[in-house]
């Protein structure tokens, strides 16, 4: 048996986080950062091994009575998510280096601990090849995230955190019913097993398949989140710190779309085809509704949360359009959206921390006082509207063109969402940044542009956006096999392009 790299990858931040829960002196933050960087290094190493074709899969029996195994594995999508997680975590820690520890017993050491625990659990979620294992970590991520909101958030954090937790738990419990159902199906077929490959081989279809798939799908719809089960996200994001919001929307919410591809499509191909029309319509509603919500938001954090709902709509649209291109686009979008939304939350966070208010009307003319902050926000906003050159453009165009082959009308609706994206992105920049300098802005922003640390933080994030925007090929190549495998699973082929003049 080879060295269990994937187990170590998840364990390192987990152990680091638990270690940081012990009482410690000032060095704790450096220690936490050390663990985050070590994980980053491990992640990079694993990416190298993956591209070199090393088999990283681990599989040992775990709960024999349930047929569950400690099974970890990677595919292109999993690796993309792992990389996103390991890159964003040190960024989040750096962002919150100073700003946490304001409220009572919630020290910045505890914040670091929670973020690291969250990172470790998320890494296991993205690498789990066993349904029960996935479920376990899926639910476990809720606990540190809950405390990140409740310990460090705004004045209504208790409400927001509970709402987040209850929505997620509702999804999780519905999924638990399906997870148990899978056990019964697999045990009735002979030997109980939760391994993804074994479950896929059962080809569960028919009525039972539909119901079981729905349990998973509802959990993922809440997680992603999609309209109409999205209402927890704006509240949770509004009450979070920018760092926690980045972890929540940038990393955790990806589990939703990730799960749709890895579990719904693979275990229930027939049921997924059955659900596709509804999912496409829900995705379109999310795209438009999220964009309108962003346009109507006064609170900057809420605004960013709504843009994410719109973007998740694009991802789901790409998945359930069932073309190789749209699905690759979706997976690529998951990666890009992580960085893009991180950039937005962080840039907005800089503004809020200086002004002491998240109201979009509380600013004005900041561009003249803090040019760097304003430039960062502009780049982030442009990334949110998927400007060519930004990585989000590549993925969005893949989704939209891929969808066109299957359902042109859906593309038409989605395009409206792209136009609305321009409206909210430009509003996000115009209101606080342009116009005459207001007294309030002058008071809070004069001589307080981004400092070195804050600039340093933005380098990897914006760098990733631009790099993936100008040179998307390696990333697209990475995720394409996952999309192809999923397409094969649902037994659909890409619609042949109809060329005018032939026939």
């Amino acid at each position: 048996m080879t060295f269990p790299w994937l187990t170590v990858l998840g364990l390192v931040p987990l152990v680091g986080g638990l270690l940081l829960l012990l009482p410690m002196r000032e060095a704790s933050k450096w220690l936490g950062m050390g663990f985050a960087l070590l994980t980053l290094g491990l992640g990079a190493g694993i990416a190298g091994m993956y591209s070199a074709g090393v088999d990283l899969a681990v599989q040992v029996p775990w709960v024999r009575s349930f047929g569950a195994s400690w099974a970890l594995g990677l595919d292109g999508m999993g690796l993309a998510m792992v990389l996103l997680t390991v890159i964003l975590t040190p960024v989040v820690l750096l962002v919150e280096w100073k700003s946490s520890g304001i409220v009572g017993q919630w020290t910045s050491q505890a914040f670091f601990a929670l973020v690291l625990i969250l990172e470790g659990l998320s890494l296991f979620v993205f690498t789990a090849d066993d349904v029960l294992l996935f479920y376990l970590f899926f639910e476990a991520t809720l606990i540190p995230m809950y405390f990140l909101i409740v310990g460090y958030g705004g004045p209504r954090r208790g409400y927001a955190a509970l709402k987040f937790l209850l929505f997620s738990l509702a999804g999780g419990l519905v999924m638990l019913a399906s997870v148990i159902g899978l056990y019964v199906v697999s045990a009735s077929a002979g030997r109980p097993s939760y391994l993804l490959s074994d479950l896929a081989a059962l080809n569960i279809g028919g009525e039972a398949g539909h119901w079981l798939m729905l349990g998973f799908l509802i959990a993922f719809i809440i997680k992603a989140p999609m309209v109409p089960l999205h209402t927890w996200l704006p509240d949770a994001a509004e009450q979070s710190t920018p760092g926690s919001a980045t972890m929540l929307v940038g990393v955790l919410d990806k589990i939703g779309t990730f799960g749709m591809i890895k579990f719904c499509l693979v275990i229930f191909p027939e049921a997924s085809r059955w659900a596709a029309p509804v999912m496409v319509i829900l995705a379109l509603i999310s795209i438009i509704y999220g964009a309108l919500g962003a346009i109507g938001s006064r609170n900057l954090m809420r605004l960013v949360a709504y843009t994410s709902i719109s973007h998740f709509g694009f991802m789901v649209l790409g998945i359930y359009s069932f073309t190789t291109q749209s699905m690759s686009g979706s997976i690529f979008y998951m990666l890009n959206h992580g960085f893009s939304t991180a950039a937005l939350f962080l840039a907005v966070g800089y503004l809020i921390s200086r002004r002491g208010s998240a109201d979009i009307n509380a600013f004005g003319g900041v561009q003249k006082l803090a040019p760097v902050a304003s430039g960062v926000l502009l780049l982030a906003a442009l990334s949110a509207l998927s400007l060519p050159g930004m990585s989000t453009f590549v993925s969005e165009i893949m989704v939209v063109t891929g969808t066109f082959g299957r359902a042109p009308w859906a593309t038409a609706v989605a395009t409206v969402g792209m136009v609305l994206a321009a409206v909210y992105a430009l509003r996000l920049y115009r209101k606080p940044m342009t116009g005459p300098v207001t007294d309030d802005a002058a008071q809070h922003f004069t001589g307080r542009d981004l400092n070195e640390v804050e600039r340093l933080v933005m380098v990897p994030v914006i760098g990733a956006i631009l790099l993936l925007g100008f040179y998307p090929q390696p990333a697209v190549k990475l995720v394409e096999p996952t999309a192809q495998a999923a397409m094969q699973r649902v037994q659909l082929v890409d619609p042949a392009p109809v060329v005018e003049g032939e026939q």
């Binding site: 709960v63 024999r64 009575s65 349930f66 017993q105 809720l142 738990l169 638990l176 997870v179």
Partner: protein
């Protein structure tokens, strides 16, 4: 049948070694009674230490015998067929002894308030001169320890009884000491005595039903023996009228002890009025013993009749889950909240009882092993949670009002964290044993064909989760309450808390440690 001369007495054969756990506990309890009688004068102040020594020693010895006897394998009926020693009995005994010990340890806590939790002299009238004197001169009685041991002895008998009369004797032996102990709180004595009276009256009433049901079943089958009743059910000599009546009445008695709605009305008042350590003992051990006996009676004696009782049990499970969670939603008192939550958990357990999934593949959880695991998971969380309830205090007494728990995390983050762990286990959130327990019982129910019951149970779990999370929110997100503090407890309180926390985590990560043996030993003999 051999011919017997009148007046000839055949000596019963008693398998002393196999029955040693019961006998040791009983002996230790009797010795405990003598302690109060004999240790007078100067040695009086060592009573408590001697008593807890008897409890720890007795329970550990019983535990050692139970585990050592496992090597004999399932023995079958002993003591002239009145006690059945099979796999479930062994697991039940181990669980009862472990949780009994952990729960009784908390009885010994004296550091928190400077005096024991139990009344100095339970026989004195509340507010009387005698009571004041007993308190002032610290004339403390320690009968609570032998009473707990008697109760535990009764529980061992109850879960292993192979005929209905022994079952009834077990029921009374474990219930009577509980009635007494309920009324022995040092603080709020009238409330405590009211709880005791309520418990006693309702308990006596349900025992009456139970006894009546036994008579009916005897009338139907001509025997008290569970195996003979089972044979009569498959090939009845008379009509089934007596069987149905007996089944229903016996069920009333058993379900009352578990706390299944509509027979659970006593639980909130009794749990709230009783001294908190005792509430912990009742919440775990009583429930465990009653569930064990129910499983035996309904699977062994009435298993062939399951088409009759399964639909009824399914309905009762639903009512219990919903009533328990909905009533818990509005509670402001921690003990009352945990009381209603214990009702809800009884409902969750009952989904698997209803499912009655038995013939599954080797090593896969059956209804019995799933329920045994659930009880252990619930037990570890309960023992810890009630121990923590005793820690949270205001200057006058225990702080049971949830408002007083506000901001506990700011004062003692670790205590709040441990309580959260137990609450998460109740709610069924990983990495706790509670999730694995839920998984196991729901899977057993589903395999028994009751998938719709699982769906309802899962939806109820969400409401239940809200209840526990609300407490976590109160502890972590609210500003600290001014008058509440976390008392400095001795090891007698901390050992159960720590054991509960460790076991909750370990069983949450590696449930096979318990589920494996429980599956191996999960078959009833008849």
């Amino acid at each position: 049948m051999t011919m017997m001369l009148p007046l000839e007495i055949t000596a019963p054969t008693i398998e002393f070694r196999q029955l040693a756990p019961i006998l040791i506990l009983f002996g230790a309890a009797c010795a405990g009674v003598l302690v109060d009688a004999l240790m007078l004068g100067r040695s009086r102040r060592w009573r408590g230490e001697v008593q807890i020594g008897l409890v720890v020693g007795g329970v550990l010895a019983a535990l050692a015998y139970t585990v050592a006897n496992l090597r004999l394998g399932p023995v079958g009926a002993v003591a002239m067929g009145s006690i059945m020693l099979d796999g479930p009995t062994a697991v039940m005994w181990v669980l009862l002894l472990v949780f009994g010990l952990l729960a009784v340890m908390v009885f010994k806590e004296e550091r928190l308030a400077g005096v024991p939790v139990f009344a100095s002299s339970a026989a004195t009238v509340p507010g009387s001169r005698e009571e004041a004197e007993a308190d002032r001169f610290r004339l403390e009685q320690t009968e609570v320890f032998p009473l707990a041991l008697f109760s535990l002895t009764g529980m061992l008998v109850f879960v292993s009884a192979n005929d209905l009369l022994t079952l009834f004797v077990g029921l009374e032996v474990f219930s009577l000491p509980l009635y007494l102990m309920c009324g022995m709180a040092r603080k709020r004595r009238l409330l405590s005595q009211e709880a005791a009276l309520k418990y006693f009256l309702l308990g006596a009433f349900s025992s009456g039903f139970f006894l009546f049901g036994i008579a009916m079943l005897y009338g139907f089958s001509g025997s008290f023996d569970l195996g003979t009743i089972a044979a009569a059910v498959t090939a009845p000599a008379y009509g089934r009228g007596l069987l149905y009546a007996g089944l229903a009445l016996v069920a009333v008695g058993l379900l009352f002890k578990i706390g299944i709605v509509p027979f659970a009305n006593w639980i909130p008042d009794v749990y709230m009025g009783a001294p908190t350590p005792l509430t912990g003992f009742m919440a775990i051990c009583t429930k465990m013993a009653a569930v064990g006996a129910t499983l035996r009676v309904f699977y062994v004696a009435l298993g062939a009749e399951r088409w009759t009782w399964q639909p009824v049990f399914a309905v009762l499970a639903i009512i219990t889950m919903i009533a328990g969670t909905v009533a818990a939603l509005t509670q402001r008192d921690v003990k009352r909240l945990l009381a209603y939550s214990s009702i809800a958990h009884a409902g969750f357990i009952f989904t698997a009882v209803t499912g009655a999934s038995q013939d599954v593949g080797a090593g896969q959880p059956t209804s019995v092993s799933a329920i045994l695991f659930y009880l252990a998971a619930y037990g570890f969380a309960t023992v810890g949670a009630f121990a923590i309830v005793t820690l949270v205090r205001n200057p006058a007494s225990e702080e049971n009002d949830l408002d007083g728990w506000a901001g506990l995390a700011a004062k003692r983050p670790w205590v709040a964290g441990l309580m959260s762990l137990f609450l998460l286990s109740f709610a069924g959130i990983p990495p706790t044993a509670g999730l694995m327990g839920k998984w196991a019982v729901f899977a057993a129910a589903w395999r028994g064909g009751y998938w719709w019951l699982v769906v309802i149970a899962v939806l109820t779990s969400l409401v239940a989760a809200y209840i526990y999370l609300k407490v976590i929110v109160i502890m972590f997100a609210r500003p600290p309450a001014p008058n509440t503090y976390v008392g400095e407890a001795s090891l007698w309180t901390w050992i159960p808390i720590v054991v509960g926390a460790v076991a909750t985590l370990v069983l949450g990560i590696a449930p096979d440690l318990l589920l494996g043996p429980a599956s191996l030993l999960g078959t009833f003999l008849r």
